[in-house]
């Protein structure tokens, strides 16, 4: 059993004893009438508030509502003390008898969160406590119960400063004013809270507002009727009704509080489903992105094949055609024109050398053998050597990396350097490929004209897809006049 649970059970036992004690005082009182009804009011109101309050305290330990309800229950028993025939106990009872109403205001103002929401709420509750403690104590010094019409057999007031009835009346007038202010403000606060509540929040407030409203009305009616001097039976009837409604008030608080748990669960469900929707949308976007990049990769494959075919057709194949014609012509001229034959054969050899070089270049574009055989450092060295723009290799990895990563890094550098040569008008380019913290960082920087764009058909989008396929990130920074920096970061455990 937890410490809190033990303490709450101890409080429950204390509440039972306090209730029995208060009831005993009332039933043996010389001045409280009607004794039975008064005892019933104290017991039902006190026990119901204390019982439901302790239950709420146990269920919602972080919420002040439970402790407040429990406090109302206990302070009700103070009223029992005022029934005592012993003058000291009687005086203590008088002083504390109005405290539960201040706590009730505190409870209503802060229900169901158990927290203040504004300075005004603090003022209202503070004024209520001031009225029922300091002002009540002040009033107790000057009130002479024996002179009150409805307190015929009351004990003497042991702290009475006699002869200042006027002061007692003045303090009482202030109390009436502040109590009116407190009650009106509380009604307003609860009403406004009700107005701006969502349907779920209203389900929490409804029991309290309804029961509280009925209780207020009946208490008011009872007050008016007792002043108007109606038959005792009617007065007793409204008194009993008030007791019943007042005693049911804590159950309304409890019901509201438990509903707020349900409301909380609904809020959580709503929040979760909103989060779900968000996640779904993000997932959908990701799927779309993947679909698009997959389509681009497939298209890039086809485009690459077309490029290879065109390069073969325009390059080596044309040279070989010309070579064929030269050789045929040379054969025809053989014997009759040795000089021309020699020239034709020289040209044929030049064409052959050019065709061989073009085929080699093309093959390297399809798959760089140097890369697969000797790794990134050697292959990047080859790229730098062939680049028409001077390339400084700042860093290259000495070790071999997984083949797909080497390929991606190589093609990022190759494509970037091709762009540097074609568009950048750069003096120099630097290449940095480093393995760091589980990623391979690739950076190609030039001092050219800048202004490169991902979607300008420069092959950069293809690089982004290639890097993205390895869960990597790719970026191009290229402000006009400030050179271009191509960066890729590829995970590499």
């Amino acid at each position: 059993m937890s410490g809190l649970r033990r303490a709450l059970l101890a409080l429950a036992a204390l509440a039972i004893l306090a209730g029995v004690g208060a009831a005993a005082l009332i039933l043996t009182s010389d001045h409280t009438t009607p004794r039975g009804l008064a005892a019933a009011l104290i017991l039902t109101a006190g026990w119901s508030f204390a019982g439901t309050g302790l239950y709420a305290w146990d269920r919602r330990p972080g919420n002040n509502i439970g402790p407040l309800m429990t406090a109302i229950g206990f302070t009700f028993f103070f009223q029992g003390l005022s029934s005592s025939n012993n003058e000291v106990v009687f005086a203590i009872g008088i002083i504390g008898s109005s405290l539960p109403y201040a706590i009730l205001i505190h409870l209503l103002v802060t229900f169901p969160a158990g927290r203040f929401e504004s300075r005004f709420q603090r003022v209202v509750v503070g004024a209520a406590y001031l009225t029922t403690t300091v002002l009540q104590l002040g009033w107790a010094f000057f009130i002479d119960p024996t002179k009150q019409s409805d307190c015929g057999n009351c004990p003497e007031n042991p702290i009475l400063i006699a002869g200042h009835e006027g002061v007692a009346n003045a303090i009482n007038a202030v109390q009436v004013l502040t109590a009116t202010f407190g009650i009106a403000s509380t009604v307003a606060i609860v009403y406004l809270r009700w107005r701006r509540s969502t349907p779920a929040q209203r389900r929490v407030l409804t029991p309290v507002v309804l029961t509280g409203g009925v209780a207020f009305t009946i208490l008011l009616a009872q007050l008016i009727l007792s002043e108007a001097g109606v038959p005792q039976a009617v007065e007793d009837g409204t008194y009993i009704a008030a007791i019943v409604v007042f005693a049911s008030l804590p159950f309304a608080f409890l019901l509201g509080l438990l509903r707020s748990r349900i409301g909380k669960a609904e809020e959580i469900t709503t929040a979760l489903s909103a989060e779900n929707e968000q996640l779904n949308a993000e997932l959908q976007a990701k799927v779309e992105e993947l679909r698009a990049s997959r389509a681009r990769i497939v298209e890039a494959g086809y485009a690459e094949r077309r490029r290879v075919e065109r390069n073969l057709h325009d390059g080596a194949q044309q040279r070989l055609m010309a070579l064929t014609m030269n050789l045929r012509l040379a054969r025809d001229k053989l014997g009759e024109d040795p000089a021309t034959t020699g020239e034709l054969l020289d040209e044929a050899m030049e064409e052959l050398a050019a065709a061989t070089a073009e085929l080699r270049e093309l093959a390297r574009g399809i798959h760089p053998v140097l890369l697969s055989e000797r790794g990134l450092r050697a292959a990047l060295g080859g790229l730098a050597e062939r680049s028409p723009v001077p390339v400084e290799l700042v860093a290259t990895p000495a070790e071999r990396l997984p083949a797909p990563i080497e390929m991606a890094a190589y093609f990022v550098v190759a494509e970037a350097l091709t762009n540097v040569a074609r568009y950048a008008e750069a003096e120099v380019a630097t290449v940095r490929v480093e393995r760091r913290n589980g990623t391979v960082e690739v950076e190609i920087r030039d001092d050219g004209v800048g202004g490169a764009e991902l979607d300008a058909g420069t092959g950069l989008r293809g690089l982004e897809d290639r890097v993205g396929a390895l869960e990597g990130s790719f970026s191009v920074t290229s402000r006009a006049g400030e050179g271009t920096t191509v960066e890729a970061s590829i995970p590499c455990a």
Binding site: H313, D314, Q317, M321, A322, M325, L329
Partner: protein, 123 residues
């Protein structure tokens, strides 16, 4: 053979590859043809035909702008078209029905181009 002709057949060579044009010119001239012009794309070819009025156009199929079939069709529509021989570094089979539907006299793969293969189609 053509050396015997009184007047050589005039030829326009249309191809976007200079090395091929140079080789074809040398080969055709060695075979007795008079190469009177070269064009590197389709529009230039149409223009050159209007200006030079060659007897024969050696026309590459793949050109940077309009392809050889289109050039042949437009020359045919313009009337009084010269004899047209299509050529390509690709095979006949790469073009499907297009060769048969073209008004050109015929097709010679670039690897087989010579004075005699040309004469077979135009002679």
């Amino acid at each position: 053979m053509k050396d015997n002709w009184l007047v050589s057949t005039s030829v326009l060579i249309v191809d976007d590859h200079p090395s091929f044009r140079a080789g074809a010119r040398r080969m055709l001239e060695a075979s007795g043809y008079a190469v009177i012009g070269e064009a590197a794309d389709g529009e230039a070819a149409l223009e050159a035909v209007r200006e030079l009025r060659p007897d024969l156009v050696l026309l590459d199929v793949q050109l940077p702008d309009i392809d050889g079939f289109e050039v042949a069709a437009r020359l045919e529509r313009a009337g009084a078209a010269p004899a047209i021989v299509l050529t390509s570094s690709r095979d006949r089979a790469d073009f499907g029905d297009a060769l048969a539907e073209s008004p050109a006299r015929g097709f010679i793969a670039k690897g087989e181009l010579s004075g005699s293969t040309l004469a077979e189609l135009t002679g």
